[in-house]
Amino acid sequence: MATPTLRERAQDEAARFLFTCWDEDQFPVDPFLIADSLEIDVFLANLPDDVAGIFRKKPNEKPEIYIAQGDIERRQRFTCAHELGHYAHLKLEGKLEHNSDETFIERRDPASSLGTNPAEVFANEFAANLLMPAVAIRTLHARGMDAYDLSRFFDVSPTSMDYRLKNLGLPR
């Protein structure tokens, strides 16, 4: 059997998180509640303009997520899901022990979303699959919902939904 790619592993992890921490059939998915169920503290804070979020796990402390409080709700949801992606990735790699010291900063520069850093690629793919599961998107799209309706249903930005539909090979 072929080894799953990084994106496939992110997709699997997102599906597993939805299965274990969420009702897979309830939308919109609330990443803050999922973080809560994983005992990750999520805070809104004043962050520099070029930083959307921070994931930090200090030795002997619970993981923490910091999200820019000036961002709109949808952006905060995506940032939280993205930081959960870092948590999932570290967990998958066995790097999230009690004494782990890991930090990720999510910057707003275009390079972050282009997909060169594997950790960021994993987190982005995880976030997209957590908030917009492929099965649900395909089901609703087949029923005639367009990108705008879908973005409202899943409470994500129309741009994120456009990108998601494009990745799934579905017309907008």
Binding site: R9, Q26, F32, V51, Y66
Partner: protein, 148 residues
């Protein structure tokens, strides 16, 4: 887009770690951070029942139970009261020779009384308590999709 290498990925650089520590320390000094409040519970569903629909269905079932209780006890009671009153009045009137019943009228009266009793019992038993149950908690055949 090129697929990144499928390998273990370390956290970000030491510079990032130092920056994050500095930022978070600054946040703590300024009296922040503010814990994120949870959003409202999601209600939209692809296939499953929504909470509102469940509550509506439960309220409908509760009303159904109340009506069944009222009719189940009330109909036989009203019938019994009616029969007692009518029979007492009729028998008294006949005894006092205020009314004069022919045989055919008496038979018609007895027949209609029996039919009425059987009819009420049938209605109560058959329509209020159907053999298959009311199926109030079953999903409608058509799959729901609620999008507001």
């Amino acid at each position: 887009m090129t697929e990144p290498p499928n390998e273990a990925v370390p956290g970000e650089s030491a510079a990032d770690r130092a920056l994050a520590d500095e930022l978070i320390a600054a946040i703590a000094r300024s009296g922040q951070p503010q814990e994120k409040e949870h959003q409202v519970e999601p209600t939209r569903s692809l296939t499953k029942r929504t909470k509102e629909l469940d509550e509506l269905r439960m309220a409908d079932h509760q009303l159904d139970l109340t009506l069944k209780r009222v009719i189940g006890y009330g109909a036989p009671l009203a019938l019994a009261i009616q029969l007692v009153i009518v029979n007492v009045v009729l028998i008294t009137a006949i005894k006092l020779e205020l009314l004069n019943f022919s045989d055919r009228l008496a038979i018609a009266w007895l027949t209609s009384t029996i039919v009425e009793v059987i009819g009420v019992v049938l209605v109560v038993a058959k329509y209020l308590f159907p053999g298959t149950g009311s199926r109030w908690n079953e999903e409608p055949e058509k799959e729901r999709l609620r999008v507001d």
